[in-house]
C-alpha cells in the first residue's frame, strides 16, 4: 500500500504555529517578490480569494476582512517541512519526499485507517501542522484518496483509506479527470472528447485507445488507476542534473552592471549548493528575460550554455565564466525582468579524477569552504555575511537596487535563528 501525506495550507499553517493571533483568522502567504497569493488558510478560501491571484487584485478584500498577509519565509517552511518528514520517516518503512509539503509513504500491510489517524495526530501534536493522508494501492490512487480526504475533511477527518472503503468506485466516479494526478486542463479536454470525464471512466476505458491518444504516460495512468503500480517510490532524490539559481527583479533592470551583480549572487548561491552536496559542475547556462507580459515593451530573452574547461565548484571560476556569458548575450535598451544561472551535468567530487596538472596545490587555502562555513554559522542562505565584491554591497543596495527581491512582510525565522525565537509574555 502507498500513502500520500499532504500538509494542509502548509505555508499558512507554518505561520500559524508561531503566531497564536492568527487562529481563526484569514491568512495568505505571497510568492517570491510578494507577487501572488500562493497559500491560503481555510478562512481566506471562504472569502473567495483565488489561488495564484495577484496581490494587488485582492487589496480590497484584504482590507475589508483584515486578512493577514505574509511574504514567503522559506527558512521557516523548510525547517517545519524537515520536522514533518522526519516524523513520517520514523513511522513507516520508506518515504519519498515529493515536495516541501507532500510525501509518499510505503505502508506496511497491516497499516489501517486507525494507524493513519494516529500518524496524523502525531504530526499535528508534534509540529502543529495539520495533514491529510490518503491510502491507495498505487501512487495515483493514494493521491486520489488524499484529494477525497481533503475535500471532505469534515467527513473523513483528514484520512481516507480507499481500498478498505465499501464503495471505491463511487469515489472514482466523483473524481473528475482533471482532479487526477498528472492530468491538466488540456489533457482533461482531450479525455472528455473520448467520453472520459471521471476517474471511473478512465479506469474502464479501452487501454488501446488510451495508449494511442496519450502514449506511455496515459497507459501508465490507466494501469495505476487499475491498481497496478507503475510509479516506484523514489526514496533517494534523483541524480541532480543541474542546479538553477534565478530570481525575478523587484523592478525591471536595464544596466549591465546591475545584472552582473544579481547574476554574481545567483552564482554564489548555486556554487554553495553544489559544494554542499560534494558536486562539480561540468557545464553552465546563463539567461536573461524581459517581461513577456509587457507586450508594449521590446522583448529579448536570450540564453547561452557552455561546457566548462574542467569541472569545478569554485565560486571565483564560476563567476568569471558567468560574467563572460552574460557579456555575450547582453544587449542594452531592454528592461530585464530576470536573470539566472544553471550549473549543469553535475558530477560527484569523489568520482571525479582531476588531471595531473589540476591537483590542488599544497598549502592552497580553500576560500569557498571557509566562506561557506562562516555564512552557514552567522548568516542564512538568503543573507550571507561574506560576499564577493562582484555581488555588490548588499547593505547599501537594499531598497536602492532593483534586483533585491521584495519580501516586505515575512515573519521571523522562528525555528532557525537564536535572535528570532517566538516570544512568550509572562507579565500577566
Amino acid at each position: 500500500m502507498i500513502g500520500l501525506v499532504d500538509c494542509n495550507n502548509f505555508f499558512c499553517s507554518c505561520e500559524r504555529v508561531f503566531n497564536p493571533a492568527l487562529l481563526g483568522k484569514p491568512v495568505v502567504v505571497l510568492s517570491n517578490n510578494d507577487g501572488c497569493i500562493i497559500s491560503r488558510s481555510e478562512e481566506a478560501k471562504a472569502l473567495g480569494i483565488p489561488m495564484g491571484a495577484p496581490l494587488h487584485e485582492q487589496q480590497e478584500v484584504i482590507r475589508k476582512h483584515d486578512v493577514h498577509v505574509f511574504s514567503s519565509n522559506y527558512t521557516l517552511y523548510g525547517d517545519m517541512s524537515a520536522r514533518v518528514m522526519s516524523i513520517l520517516r520514523e513511522e513507516v518503512p520508506a518515504i519519498e519526499v515529493y515536495s516541501i509539503d507532500e510525501a509518499f509513504l510505503r505502508l506496511p500491510d497491516n497499516f489501517d485507517e486507525e494507524m493513519a489517524r494516529a500518524l496524523r495526530a502525531r504530526v499535528l501534536q508534534w509540529t502543529g501542522i495539520p495533514v491529510c493522508i490518503g491510502i491507495g494501492s498505487t501512487k495515483l490512487l493514494a493521491k486520489l484518496a488524499n484529494r477525497h480526504a481533503k475535500k471532505n475533511k469534515a467527513l473523513t477527518g483528514g484520512v481516507f483509506d480507499l481500498p478498505r472503503y465499501w464503495d471505491p468506485e463511487g469515489i472514482l466516479a466523483d473524481t473528475p479527470t482533471d482532479g487526477l494526478w498528472g492530468v491538466g486542463r488540456n489533457l482533461a479536454v482531450r479525455l472528455a472528447k473520448m467520453g472520459i470525464r471521471t476517474a471511473l471512466d478512465f479506469q474502464h476505458a479501452d487501454p488501446a485507445a488510451i495508449r494511442k491518444s496519450m502514449g506511455v504516460v496515459g497507459e501508465r495512468m490507466f494501469r495505476e488507476l487499475n491498481g497496478i503500480p507503475c510509479l516506484e517510490l523514489e526514496e533517494i532524490p534523483p541524480d541532480r542534473k543541474g542546479v538553477m539559481a534565478s530570481r525575478s527583479f523587484g523592478s525591471p533592470v536595464e544596466g549591465l552592471e546591475e545584472l552582473e551583480e544579481a547574476l554574481a549572487n545567483h552564482v554564489a548561491r548555486a556554487g554553495e549548493k553544489i559544494r554542499r552536496f560534494g558536486l562539480l559542475a561540468t557545464g553552465m547556462e546563463v539567461f536573461l528575460q524581459t517581461n513577456r507580459f509587457r507586450k508594449d515593451q521590446p522583448q529579448y530573452s536570450p540564453g547561452v550554455g557552455i561546457t566548462l574547461d574542467r569541472p569545478t565548484n569554485a565560486t571565483a571560476e564560476l563567476m568569471k565564466t558567468a560574467s563572460d556569458l552574460l557579456h555575450r548575450i547582453y544587449r542594452s535598451g531592454y528592461r530585464y525582468k530576470k536573470t539566472g544561472v544553471q550549473l549543469t551535468n553535475l558530477v560527484s567530487e569523489e568520482g571525479f579524477q582531476p588531471s595531473l596538472f589540476d591537483q590542488a596545490k599544497p598549502g592552497r587555502i580553500d576560500v569557498d569552504k571557509i566562506v561557506d562555513e562562516i555564512n552557514r554559522r552567522l548568516g542564512d542562505p538568503k543573507n550571507p555575511v561574506i560576499t564577493r565584491a562582484s555581488q555588490g554591497t548588499e547593505r547599501v543596495s537594499i531598497g536602492t537596487k532593483g534586483w533585491k527581491m521584495k519580501s516586505e512582510r515575512h515573519s521571523p525565522h522562528y525555528t532557525t535563528d537564536w535572535n528570532q525565537l517566538p516570544e512568550a509574555r509572562v507579565d500577566s
Binding site: 517570491n32 514567503s72 524537515a82 509540529t127 512568550a424 507579565d427
Partner: protein, 142 residues
C-alpha cells in the same frame, strides 16, 4: 523558486565537551584514551525529540518563582502531554504565555507563579491551546 534542502535541527550545532582531560606522557598510552571519544552533546541531553522541540524566549517576570526569568530561553517539547504541575507554553488571547498546568479532578487551571495573578480556569468546551511542555530552562548566569 527552488527550495533550500532543510538542515536537520539537531545535527547543525553539536558542541562536544571532552569529559576527561589527561596529560599524556610521551610514549605512554593513557588509560583515558579509550574514553576520550565520548563527550557531552548538549543537544542530545536537552532535546529528546528534535522534530517536536522548539525554543521560546521569555519576556516578563511573573514566572520568577518557577525559576523562569525575563530573557530566558525555554526548551519546549510539543510531543509531551501536559500533566499536573508541568510548566507549559499556552496560547491565550492571541499570545504565547507560560503557566503551570494544574489538573485537579476534572478541572484544569493555568496558574502563574505570582500571587497577583489569579489562576485561569479552563472550562469545558473552551478550547485549551497548549503549545507544548517546557522541558528545560536556559538561563544565563549573571
Amino acid at each position: 523558486m527552488e527550495i533550500e534542502p532543510p538542515i536537520p535541527f539537531a545535527k547543525r550545532t553539536s558542541l562536544r565537551l571532552p569529559l576527561v582531560s589527561a596529560s599524556v606522557e610521551a610514549g605512554f598510552p593513557s588509560p583515558a584514551d579509550d574514553h576520550l571519544e565520548r563527550g557531552i552533546d548538549l543537544n542530545e541531553e536537552l532535546i529528546r525529540n528534535p522534530a517536536a522541540t522548539f525554543l521560546v524566549r521569555v519576556k516578563g517576570d511573573s514566572m520568577r518563582d518557577a525559576g523562569i526569568h525575563s530573557g530566558d530561553v525555554l526548551i519546549v517539547d510539543k510531543s509531551l502531554a501536559p500533566t499536573d504541575r508541568k510548566i507549559v507554553v499556552a496560547m491565550i488571547d492571541g499570545n504565547f504565555t507560560v503557566k503551570r498546568f494544574r489538573k485537579r479532578g476534572g478541572q484544569v487551571f493555568l496558574e502563574a507563579e505570582n500571587p497577583d495573578f489569579p489562576p485561569i480556569e479552563v472550562t469545558e468546551g473552551q478550547e485549551l491551546s497548549i503549545f507544548g511542555v517546557v522541558s528545560y530552562i536556559i538561563h544565563q548566569a549573571r
